[in-house]
């Protein structure tokens, strides 16, 4: 991490280590999940270095998984851009929320570096901290979370084919477990989100099997259903009071 020399060095170091401390459980969880992401990357034809790059610069389970399905199907670059945009759209919302936590005079470099690694979990611990955002806290968390995720992906690509098929099969659902962990608590507490999730399951299943619709690639299906269902949700059930707390309420990081 680039640490520029400015005053207040003492507290900055402490805050960095606080972030490091809070980042360790996140990094461990990342390591396990990214290992299975590596298996998906390998199936898409990536080598360990490419997997490392993908994970280092994206650090996104759903986004990378979606992107690997694009690579696997040799789809156009435009589809890659669209699917990444859709699968990672939530980070745009989180980035907006985090922008509210910065002090107005925060230098651009800090905004860029903090933005580099806004994930569900790091967003959670960032928002959970009281007071204005201290970028060194995020740098501490990133210092363990980023290697955990990207090295885990590379190792998944290396070791994925050393494991017996039954173990690979079992590990390959870990990522879906992570997706469920993100969506289900909110679906339980928010009736509209619950209905949207249920509709998503049903329509996704229908699109995968109905004649005509099943020709669509998985990526296109995801884009179309997301625009349709989230659009319907926003049109007919606009969110009344979208506060920061809502995002991290469900998971104590």
């Amino acid at each position: 991490m680039s640490v520029t020399s400015l005053p207040l060095a003492k507290s900055r170091r402490d805050v960095f280590f606080e972030g490091l401390h809070d980042g360790i459980p996140i990094a461990l969880g990342y390591f396990v999940v990214s290992f299975t992401l590596g298996i998906a990357a390998k199936n898409a034809g990536l080598d360990p270095f490419q997997g490392f790059l993908a994970s280092f610069f994206n650090n996104a389970s759903a986004g990378e998984y979606a992107a690997f399905t694009v690579i696997a199907s040799d789809a156009p670059y435009l589809e890659m851009a669209l699917i990444t945009l859709v699968a990672n759209a939530r980070y745009m919302l989180m980035s907006c929320v985090v922008s509210q936590k910065f002090e107005a005079n925060t230098p651009l470099l800090h905004r860029v570096l903090v933005g580099f690694d806004i994930t569900d979990e790091i967003f959670g611990i960032t928002i959970a901290r009281k007071g204005p955002l201290n970028p060194y806290y995020n740098y501490g968390a990133m210092a363990v979370a980023l290697p955990g995720w990207s090295v885990g992906t590379a190792l998944g690509i290396v070791a994925g084919n050393l494991l017996p098929p039954s173990v690979v099969s079992a590990l390959s659902v870990a990522l879906f477990g992570m997706f469920l962990w993100v969506i289900i608590p909110t679906a339980r507490d928010n009736r509209i989100v619950g209905l949207l999730v249920l509709s998503s399951f049903l329509m996704s299943f229908a699109c995968a099997h109905l004649p005509g619709l099943k020709e669509l690639t998985a990526g296109t299906r995801t884009i179309l259903l997301t625009l349709l269902l989230a659009g319907i949700g926003a049109l007919f059930f606009p969110v009344k009071d979208l506060t920061d707390e809502k995002e991290e309420e469900n998971h104590a990081a």
């Binding site: 980070y91 919302l93 980035s95 860029v112 962990w181 993100v182 995968a208």
Partner: protein, 101 residues
């Protein structure tokens, strides 16, 4: 393979970084448009749900194992289990079901 993997990586990384960094650097005030806010709020849930099912049944050797892992994951997340527990329980479900089937 017509497309280059490094070009794919460049496109995905550029889009992801733009998504993460641009709002943080450009927006200094909160988004007011209610439709946009609501849309962004709903997007992750729909996207993740669409990507989970039925794909989870194709990821495993036995489709039934994937389906049961889905139910396991939903149940544990519903009762507030941690990320690690939810993921581990899904894996264990698949392993055990495929052992029997």
């Amino acid at each position: 393979m017509q497309h280059d993997i490094y070009s794919y990586l460049f496109v995905m990384s550029a889009v992801t970084l733009a998504i993460r960094i641009l709002p943080l650097t450009l927006i200094r005030r909160q988004i007011k448009n209610r439709f946009l806010r609501s849309f962004l709020y709903y997007v992750p849930y729909v996207t993740l749900a669409v990507m989970t099912f039925p794909a989870i049944m194709d990821a495993t050797q036995v489709p039934l194992a994937g389906l049961l892992a889905l139910f396991t994951g939903i149940a544990l997340s519903w009762y507030g289990a941690s990320l690690f527990k939810v993921s581990a329980a899904c894996c264990l479900t698949v392993f055990l079901v495929e052992l029997v089937c």
